[in-house]
Amino acid sequence: MYALIIDDSRAMRKILRQIVEPLGFQILEAGHGQEGLELLNERRSEVELCLVDWNMPVMNGLEFVKTVRKQEQEGHIKLMMVTTETEPAQMARALMAGVDEFVMKPFTRDILLEKLRLIGVSMQLPVAN
């Protein structure tokens, strides 16, 4: 399965990749929502999870979420916003648009994993040896 990471910061994409890739996902990366949509449309049935930044050029995270949910025919892609946005009104807008969960930047690996568990993301946690 694939996880799609959408953030205009390459550094942030790398940080997210380092947490999510070991869970057994193949990773797709996009620098804004429009690019994310294009990648998603190429492999829609194989993408389980999208980690989406809010504040991005071209197409922001909220627009991306709205578009994905509008296009969704069957199944349910897990959409997690990874953002600095904490304004209750804004968060309500995102939830109405179809976001499953939020992670606030700054976050730690443990917080992100906990949130992924909460929304039922399948994880192949590496076995310590």
Binding site: R10, A11, T84
Partner: protein
């Protein structure tokens, strides 16, 4: 709530130390920090009109990028160094915006060479904290645009 020195310091510590594991602590201002440095700025508009700047000498900027990209400093490109500093100001600005009441929006970060132009020049009168980040200087400033007439 308005932003004071202590709140700003807490946010910077949470971002740099809590998330990225960088060693950050308040320090005396190092005036050399404003020399060959990168400036990353976000603009907050709406309920709270302000500008937030992260001023990082190249050495600090490289150390930050090296941690964020998990790469050696000499492997980093200029774009990666700027990206890392830009994401720091994005997180700091976004968190400050969340603390101040009112519906505000955050711009995309703008990163460039620090040129000392207003309001972030030698006459800067807003809130400023100086830190040592991985042993190198890091300055964060907040300019409240709604107070610039007074």
């Amino acid at each position: 709530m308005t932003i004071d020195q202590q709140t700003l310091q807490q946010v910077v510590t949470d971002v740099c130390s809590g998330m990225l594991g960088l060693e950050v602590e308040p320090s005396e201002k190092d005036n050399a920090a404003t020399g060959d440095a990168l400036s990353a700025v976000v603009k907050i508009s709406g309920g709270w009109d302000s500008l937030v700047q992260v001023l990082a000498p190249r050495k600090t900027a490289k150390a930050i990028a090296s941690t964020m990209f998990a790469m050696n400093e000499d492997e980093l490109t200029e774009a990666e160094i700027r990206d890392a500093v830009g994401e720091i100001v994005n997180m700091v600005g976004g968190n400050l915006k969340g603390i101040v009441e009112g519906d505000s929006s955050l711009s995309l970060p703008c990163v460039g060479e620090a040129t000392g132009s207003a309001p972030f020049d030698e006459n800067f009168k807003g809130l400023e904290i100086s830190n040592s980040c991985q042993g190198d200087p890091l300055i964060v400033r907040v300019f409240d645009r709604s107070r610039c007439e007074s």
